[in-house]
């Protein structure tokens, strides 16, 4: 049994719907979208217009079935170390999805540190690895990067990274695939890293 008690109920249910309904399951997709909207996060691509079937996720011509790792943004973009970045511009964000500076303090779009009502800086939040740290705390699995897929995306190479763990069940709630995982590990969830290598 997958331990996903840390994930919000709406997200869990949305994932289940996204991974279980059929190609023609319009109501299922609609339900997943509604739940996702209510739960405030998701699996945007599970119901995105450019995805023909909610069984599949995809970008830049690459199609895959394992759902994304938990993250402040979907799809989860990571830096070299596996920490979260804002997908649209690659700016570093903390675990709460807020823009942060090099010291980890919350900043606005112009880089000024944000303060609370009394003038003190907003308390910082951790900025931890989505695969190794988040999956461990939320699902109790010791996860790591093993391999990945590469595609040309937006003019540079994008790597779809497999987050692997010793588990038979992936984040979708169904059977995990071997993918590019080694030593008996299987793909629990996926993330992506946008390189600066032109293609």
């Amino acid at each position: 049994m997958l331990r996903d008690a840390g994930a919000p109920a709406g997200e869990r249910l949305a994932r289940r719907l996204a991974s279980s309904h059929t190609r023609r399951g319009f109501l299922g997709r609609l339900g997943a979208a509604a739940l996702a909207a209510v739960s405030g996060r998701l699996a945007a691509s599970a119901v995105s217009p450019d995805t023909a079937d909610a069984h599949y996720y995809g970008f830049c011509g690459h199609t895959y079935t394992t759902h994304h790792c938990p993250s402040p943004y979907f799809p989860p973009r990571i830096d070299l170390h596996g920490r979260p970045l804002r997908p649209k511009d690659g700016h570093r964000v903390d675990n709460l999805g807020r823009l942060v500076d090099a010291e980890g303090y919350v900043v606005d779009e112009s880089g000024d540190r944000l303060r609370g009502p009394t003038g003190d800086l907003l308390p910082r939040a951790p900025r931890t690895r989505l695969c190794q740290d988040w999956v461990r705390e939320r699902y109790g699995l010791k996860a790591q990067f093993d391999g990945g897929w590469y595609r040309c995306c937006g003019g540079t190479i994008r790597k779809l990274v497999d987050c692997c763990a010793h588990t038979r069940t992936r984040i979708n709630g169904d059977a995990a695939l071997v993918g590019y995982c080694y030593n008996g590990r299987r793909v629990f969830c996926v993330l992506y890293y946008q390189t600066s290598t032109p293609c």
Binding site: R41, P117, T118, R124, P126, R136
Partner: protein, 439 residues
Amino acid sequence: MVETIVPVVHGARTWMLSLALFTAGAVATAGLLGLALGAALPAGGATVAAAVAVFALLEAAAELGLVRLPLPQMRRQVPERWRERYPQPLTALLYGAGLGFGFATYLPVATLPVVAVAVAALAGPASGAAVLAAFGLGRGLALAVATARVRSHEQATARIEWMARLAGRRRLRLANAAALGLLGSVLGMGAASGVAQASGTIDLGTQPVADPSAGTGVLAFDRINSDGSLTGVVRYNGTFTDLPGWTPDVSGTSVVVDTGPAFEILDYTTMTVLQTLPLKGRDPALSGKWLVYRRLKNGRRQIVLYNLHTASARVIAHSRLRTDLGPPDISSPRVVYHRTTAGSSSITVYRIDRKSVRSPRTTRIDSYFNPSIDGTSVVYIRQTLQGMQVEVLNLQTSRSRSIFSVNKGSGRFLWTTAIFAGRRYFTVYNSTSSSIHRG
């Protein structure tokens, strides 16, 4: 039952006494039920309020005949033998107590189950007792209407039939559906705004306020002036007095404030300065002979414990600048503060007597901050991807529960906290204002 309490046989005086005792019995048991339900579960957040709203709307639909839902009820009437065995006032009291419980008799409409669920899920014991006591009062009022100025048993029967016709099965259900629909809508709107559970804003004037600290009959806080500066204020015996500094913290009859170049300790009952400490730091907190504060020194963040009797200080926690070492609070022998790094966030407790440190709450995903302590109870803010919660942590059991929450996107945020004698205070702010709530 109504025919037992008409002013026919025993006269108007006994009728009034019986009516009062019936109402007292009904209010008492309904209030006790509310007390038990309110204490049964911790007050839920916006999600729980949304669930209760859905339940209320479902029951409203059931009242309209759109869906079928069972009602939890025991279809019993009050024991008839009681009126033969006991004097009428005692019978009335027992009948009131029996009916005040609500679920032990026939329930014609679904209002009581909905309100009972709402009380259990969203209210505390006191507010739960008050809400359900109103049901008991309602039963007393209904009896008063049914029996007032009745001169014969025939008249009593006719009065009951008249009331039944007035309600009419359909009319009663329509009215109840409207009431439940209204309740569901209000709860739904409350859940959507992210602030749905019982908590009260403390009236501290029109200006924004923050940084609460409480004691017996006293509340100290910061007033946020229009230029952004802070002024410490103490409310004692209903009187507001400005303090000569900011970030006040109360202990006994003393309050400590940060004046900039020094910390000042005052007796807030007389406003006399007891001690001026030329210590460089901020966010002072006081407990008996101990003062704790934080400072930057030698490129590091430090939390310093200062003994007011011996004028000696020692650093009890330190970190690099990029680590967020939060404002400390003290309830001797414990000091509490938050420590957040790139890798984790924790609520940390330092024991003065044992010189030991432990972190009863640590997360690698969320953010914990601004804790306050009183005895073995800690109140702190937890921020997640979904929103912010005020959490109460019991250091003895290591259990934590949420007492208030705001949803992400609601435009409201949580800030500083305080706790004293089981009462929790916290700052709620938005882009234009800031207020102190008690929850």
